[in-house]
């Protein structure tokens, strides 16, 4: 009998179901897409923009590299410059194939003198771990897959810091965006607290022990502590609309093994002045050859929603590209999309069409990100 692939569950799965969440399969994981008790996707999305929302993101993967050669190993596989990281600092980066295309995007955290912690996508957990282990064999460091060790809860929104401060002795006001600290959280000692997220808002991600009882207790304490701020539980539906408004890439959509760094517009995270990293040579050649397609933001002009995979056309109806991600944007109240098109259509104001169920609907290129969080005064 062929092996049956069982659906994977996070430690909070029973809690989501008890809350009445609508569940969906996401890359083999049984995950909440929205919670009727939160009011659904639009309410969840706007709670994060205006107050605070929490997400179970335990399906994401965690890899630790530790040892004298850990930095060198990270520098070899990651396109950003990890040597710039102070202890407690994090950066967005990507792991690249020799062709300069994406294995995955990643957040690299420096947790200690010789300790780096990579957080990777759920759908690429095994692929990434094997990739990291295989491509760092020559370096003096241990590579561990800690993905199953943590329940990861994201607390996102302008009130996220106020919520989490009630539950921890760590001084969160001293933690800048994309920095981490450790502290007691809900009575648990030495918890990794990162000021990171995937919502284009301020917020934190906490990494707690993955046993079901602890995970449920902390989840419920976070919801209780957040009541005064209007906290709601949020699912993958809102997670997607939030990251889309902020133009944050999603693997398999804006980035993939057939898309390179220049096309994806992630130049600022790619440090070509590093002496060496996987994919660097190919990227040099690609830069010299020039990009044939580039990622742009679109806003619909005609009625209609541009969705993932829809064709993009020039004003005469000729096919020029495709939508990587598209949706109604709940905070902006517009229909927006990201798409790959030839560079001549990239300037804001450029007119294109999106094919929606056989009809050519007008859209225009707009500056991105579509949404930027207001600066705290």
């Amino acid at each position: 009998m062929p092996a049956v692939e069982t659906t994977r569950k996070t430690a909070l799965n029973a809690v989501h179901r008890q809350m009445g969440a609508k569940m969906v399969d996401f890359n083999g994981w049984d995950m909440p897409v929205e919670y009727p008790c939160s009011g659904g996707i639009i309410a969840e999305h706007n709670a994060v923009r205006n107050g605070v929302g929490i997400f179970d993101v335990s399906h994401m993967g965690d890899i630790r590299l530790q040892g004298p050669g850990a930095l060198a190993a990270v520098q070899h596989i990651s396109m950003n410059d990890a040597a710039k990281l102070a202890i407690g600092q994090a950066q967005y980066s990507a792991l690249l194939y020799p062709q300069g295309t994406f294995v995955d995007d990643v957040i690299v955290h420096r947790l200690g003198e010789d300790e780096y912690f990579l957080v990777i996508n759920a759908g690429t957990r095994e692929k990434d771990f094997n990739w990291v282990r295989d491509n760092t064999r020559g370096f003096d460091c241990n590579v561990e897959n800690l993905s199953d060790d943590f329940t990861q809860i994201a607390i996102q929104g302008p009130k996220g810091v106020d919520l989490l401060q009630k539950l921890t002795d760590a001084n969160l006001s001293a933690v800048k965006f994309y920095w981490v600290t450790r502290g007691a959280v809900c009575g648990l000692k030495n918890i990794l607290i990162a000021r990171t997220g995937y919502t284009a808002e301020d917020g934190f991600e906490i990494y707690i022990p993955a046993d079901e009882a602890t995970s449920a207790r902390v989840w419920n304490e976070v919801l209780a502590a957040g009541k005064e701020f209007g906290v709601v539980a949020c699912g993958l539906g809102a997670r997607n609309t939030l990251r889309l408004e902020g133009k944050l890439p999603l693997y398999g959509h804006e980035i993939s093994d057939t898309i390179n760094v220049w096309e994806a517009g992630l130049d600022r995270f790619c440090k070509m002045d590093k002496s060496e990293f996987m994919g660097k040579d190919a990227l040099e050649k690609a830069k010299a050859a020039g990009v044939k397609r580039t990622l742009i933001g679109l806003e619909m002009v005609d009625r209609g929603i541009a969705r993932d995979g829809y064709k993009v056309q020039d004003p005469s109806g000729g096919e020029i590209g495709y939508v990587t991600s598209g949706s109604f944007a709940p905070f902006l109240k517009k229909n927006i999309a990201l798409a790959y098109v030839p560079p001549e259509f990239a300037n804001p104001g450029s007119e294109v069409r999106v094919e929606i169920r056989g009809q050519s609907a007008r859209a225009q290129a707009v500056p991105t990100p579509f949404y930027k969080r207001p600066k705290k005064t």
């Binding site: 897409v33 996707i41 639009i42 539906g237 209609g304 929603i305 969705r307 709940p330 229909n335 169920r357």
Partner: protein
């Protein structure tokens, strides 16, 4: 959730309210609940012909596009213009947020639709979560 007894229902979760030779069509509260927040509705033009069992438009939630299936054949006489700017009315009250009105070509088709009691039974079996 009680389904109005003066409506008839399809297995695709549309309702139809018949008054003489004209009818009003919408989607059920079960449908809007399954869909989640409705953000876009695409309806046929006034004067167009729709055919029982065939698609006549779409309703979109944040996550998905769903076809609308005609409960009966006929000509569209009115569409609910409010849904262009406030599609969420369907989530608020699906049984009064009508989609279109039509004249009926073949009222006999209505006999194959479900009564409120049968529809309620149908969704109870389909629901499961």
């Amino acid at each position: 959730m009680p389904y109005p007894t003066d409506f008839k229902y399809t297995k695709e979760h549309e309702w139809i309210k018949v008054e003489g030779n004209t009818a009003t069509v919408g989607i059920t509260t079960y449908a809007q609940d399954s869909l989640g927040d409705i953000v876009f509705v695409e309806l046929p033009k006034i004067g167009s012909e729709i055919t029982a069992g065939k698609t006549f438009g779409t309703v979109e939630s944040v996550k998905a596009v769903s076809d609308l299936f005609a409960p009966a054949s006929g000509t569209v006489t009115e569409v609910n213009g409010e849904l262009a700017t406030a599609p969420e009315m369907i989530n608020k009250d699906a049984h009064s947020a009508w989609l279109l009105k039509m004249t009926l070509k073949n009222p006999g088709e209505l006999n194959s639709l479900l009564s409120a009691a049968d529809y309620e039974k149908f969704v109870a079996e389909e629901g499961g979560h």
